[in-house]
Subunit: 500 residues, 2 copies
């Protein structure tokens, strides 16, 4: 390793340390911090954030990157070193292209927007939030202008979350999805409905906790390198490859919330825990993208956790844990219940079959906003029209409609599609894994997940951020991100459940 | 406020934020961090530590301090602004006088010393630790040399923990203590001994936790601005005046450990919570010294928590909580039991009457080390001789003798006396408080602590680090730190209990 490379790595390692410290401040804020700590925590996060930015964007780092690019000109472009430099260089570009004053102004705006959004939602009055959202949109457009022109202005926003992904790709994918998922939902709506009353009775928290931990442990979540705590919104965070924490929340009258939530977060956690240890304290120690991250959480939550083989193993244990609640519910009925399809107003409560429709709606609106083909004031109406079209129901008010998500209030345009992409990727990986491990169902039926986890580690986890999402999916499955496998999966699964 | 003062305050506020972030990293390490996180946490603490040091010692801050000293020349020296500048200036001096290479070298040495100390203790072999301790002593002497000459070289070390305190003062105080405490212990040893068998039976953790929380709540510990967690070594930490956390540990067969531990840490916590809110994000937001801090923890733990009026109120509740353990123990016997005097080998387990003897022994050795009047290799023998003289027992081995404390391994010379000074200060404050609140016993007997807390807030807590310890004690009690009140208290209390 050249002296300059060693120097760059040392500087970037310190930036990683500071990012980890920020992540801990955030984790604590969401888990254990007493309410009195809020104001001070805001100051601590702001100070540490600006200091980290300052350290990372120092001209010293920029100069090292430029020198090393020349030095690496003939290096193997797939080597860890070359990829490290590529990722650092891209992050550096993204961090330095945006003026500090812009960042500060945007932070003020979104702090204000968070308040107006919350108020608008509470009072069910979109116009309270409208002016801030208009300004956020203008500033997102300005943000785009700091970067070289792309094929589509939305590309620049998308690229923050799905590196290398193009708006045209996403549009094409969602074009295929839209038609067939709408069709599927119509057929399900016309079929005999599924009963899930047993999910809406009392399940004590303690037993829910223990069962979730048991499942996560079987999945391979390493408690020596992680832990689970409670928070209002479940999340996964990492302070390094060997300290990856998940959180969950409990609804005593709806046990799937915590159980599938734990599987979901454990999926995120297993990804972070499986990254090559050599990448410690480097920007390679993270997921390839939000979409790929979501593919891991959805894989464990849905493809494993909502499958029949999984419950053939675990259902007796669950019945044992909750004898009065589930003693009289047969496995096939339980399986149907946890897979019930029911168009609902709220994205975060959506089932597998409807989830992508929520995303598509938002993605289309975001692209229209950036293209300027819709005015902010018209969003509520447009939202409701599309909602009716895609899900067959109309939100009774804006609080449960256009105002339901926090994302736009913090300026997170370009973010939503990653949730849907995660679903698609999860099934693409799953199909390939099935080819490589033909008896996977048999293994899951025995509560055996180590071969599956090993496969994911080798093909996905270990690489961290080394490959961009399209590239990673191509390397593993031989194809770019495509909706076909996911549609096949949905259609098969729900045809069986609903007798279509 | 002048522009320069505003600028200095803004810079120092950021340093406070970074210190708070470090404190959180440390809190997490001791409470919730999974073992896998240790290596990464070490990096995070090192990076944040050096960055904070760098930021605080920037010449920009030094120049502002110098300019402001001139600007403040005619200001009221007792104003918050003048005291703020004095404290910042002193901290800045202390941080800049010591070369960065020295700090780094000392960090390496103490990291190694921690290992050799642990090994020496485990193998009961002082010579394993001896070379490192010799080097630590040399480096402490070198540290002293970075500062202007003091009356005694130990002054410079002491001043880090007890600002303004002199070795001569401490020697004088301990001279008085030694004689009378040794005498008291002799008399107690000759008296009829107290029975405390009831303390050494099983007390389930859950009830211990709840009772401790109940007491801390009554004391006035504000759970909206704090919390209690478990850790191996109990401690109090603060991330700001409105986020002050305590920890405790449980021994199921020795309930006083957690209960008096919680009172002790709550005492530290109440101090931090009571600091003037105007001092937020400034170096005034802390205790006046370790000794004054300890006075607050010992006051709640011993003067309140081990007093008869306290238990007249709480003992029925404790009996209710532990009916099978305490149902047949009468209050006077309980009171004697929790105040039993028993010379023991280990400082942290010492009772009120013997505690200071442990401290005195260490202080005398430390001063001798710095003066060069004892060689490190002779410490074990000297320790044992003094131990026999002061406590009447001889340590059977060095692990339970000279090797029992971790402090020297991290270079903490100058630290121990603060524990004893805290005891003295606690009773000085207590006597004055009794004059101001004549019916305090009556209030405590009713479980009423708000007047007491109010008195401490007004006289001690609110000032934070504004006054140095001697000055603070003088302002409140009209006298400097003196052993007389403490000796009076001990002699009265134990004469009654042991019928001397």
């Amino acid at each position: 390793m050249s002296e300059k490379f060693t120097k760059l790595k040392a500087l970037i390692a310190e930036v990683s340390d500071l990012n980890a410290a920020q992540a801990l401040l955030d984790w604590d804020q969401q888990t254990y911090m007493p309410s009195g700590g809020a104001e001070g925590r805001g100051h601590q996060l702001a100070t540490l954030g600006s200091l980290t930015h300052q350290k990372f964007t120092s001209p010293k780092i920029g100069a090292l990157i430029e020198d090393l690019k020349k030095e690496f000109a003939d290096a193997d472009p797939d080597s860890d070193e070359a990829r490290y430099l590529k990722v650092v260089s891209k992050d550096y570009d993204q961090a330095t292209k945006v003026p500090a004053e812009f960042v500060a102004k945007f932070a003020l705006l979104t702090a204000h927007a968070h308040e107006t959004w919350a108020k608008a939602r509470q009072e069910n009055n979109f116009s309270i939030f409208q002016p801030d959202l208009e300004e956020i949109l203008e500033m997102r457009k300005e943000y785009v202008s700091f970067f070289p022109p792309a094929d589509h202005p939305y590309d620049t926003l998308l690229d923050q979350f799905e590196p290398g992904m193009k708006t045209a790709d996403v549009k094409e994918i969602f074009g295929v999805l839209r038609e067939r998922q709408v069709e599927l939902l119509k057929n399900i709506a016309d079929a005999k409905q599924v009963n899930d009353d047993f999910m809406h009775i009392n399940y004590p928290e303690k037993q829910q906790w223990d069962f979730g931990v048991e499942v996560a442990t079987k999945f391979g979540y390493d408690w020596n390198r992680g832990r689970q705590d409670k928070s209002v919104h479940p999340f996964t965070t990492s302070f390094g490859i060997n300290d990856v924490r998940i959180t969950t929340r409990f609804m005593e009258d709806f046990f799937p919330s915590a159980l599938f939530g734990t599987m979901h977060e454990a999926g995120h956690g297993l990804y972070e825990m499986g990254i090559n240890q050599e990448y410690s304290r480097t920007p390679l120690a993270g997921g390839a993208s939000l979409g790929v991250h979501e593919s891991q959480s959805r894989l464990w939550e849905n493809l494993v956790g909502r499958s029949m083989p999984f419950w053939e193993h675990f259902y007796p244990r669950l019945q044992e844990t909750f004898p009065s609640q589930l003693g009289n519910v047969a496995l096939p009925d339980f399986y149907k219940g946890i897979n019930k399809v029911e168009p609902s107003l709220i994205r975060v409560e959506a089932d597998e079959a409807t989830y992508n429709m929520h995303i598509m709606l938002r993605l289309e609106l975001e692209i229209a906003m950036i293209e300027g083909s819709v005015e902010i004031k018209d969003l509520p109406t447009l939202w409701n029209t599309k909602f009716e079209e895609y899900l067959g129901i109309t939100p009774p008010n804006d609080a449960e409609g256009v105002l339901q998500d926090i994302h736009w209030s913090f300026g997170g345009l370009g973010y939503f599609s990653t949730y849907a992409l995660g679903n698609l990727i999860s099934v693409q990986l799953w199909e390939k894994m099935n080819e490589d491990i033909p008896d996977i169902d048999e293994q899951i039926r025995k509560g055996e997940f180590s071969t599956l986890l090993g496969w994911l580690r080798k093909n996905v986890h270990t690489h961290g951020r080394k490959y961009e999402p399209q590239e990673l999916v191509q390397r593993v499955t031989g194809s770019k991100i495509t909706p076909e496998p996911y549609l096949r999966y949905l259609e098969n699964k729900y045809s069986e459940i609903y007798g279509l």
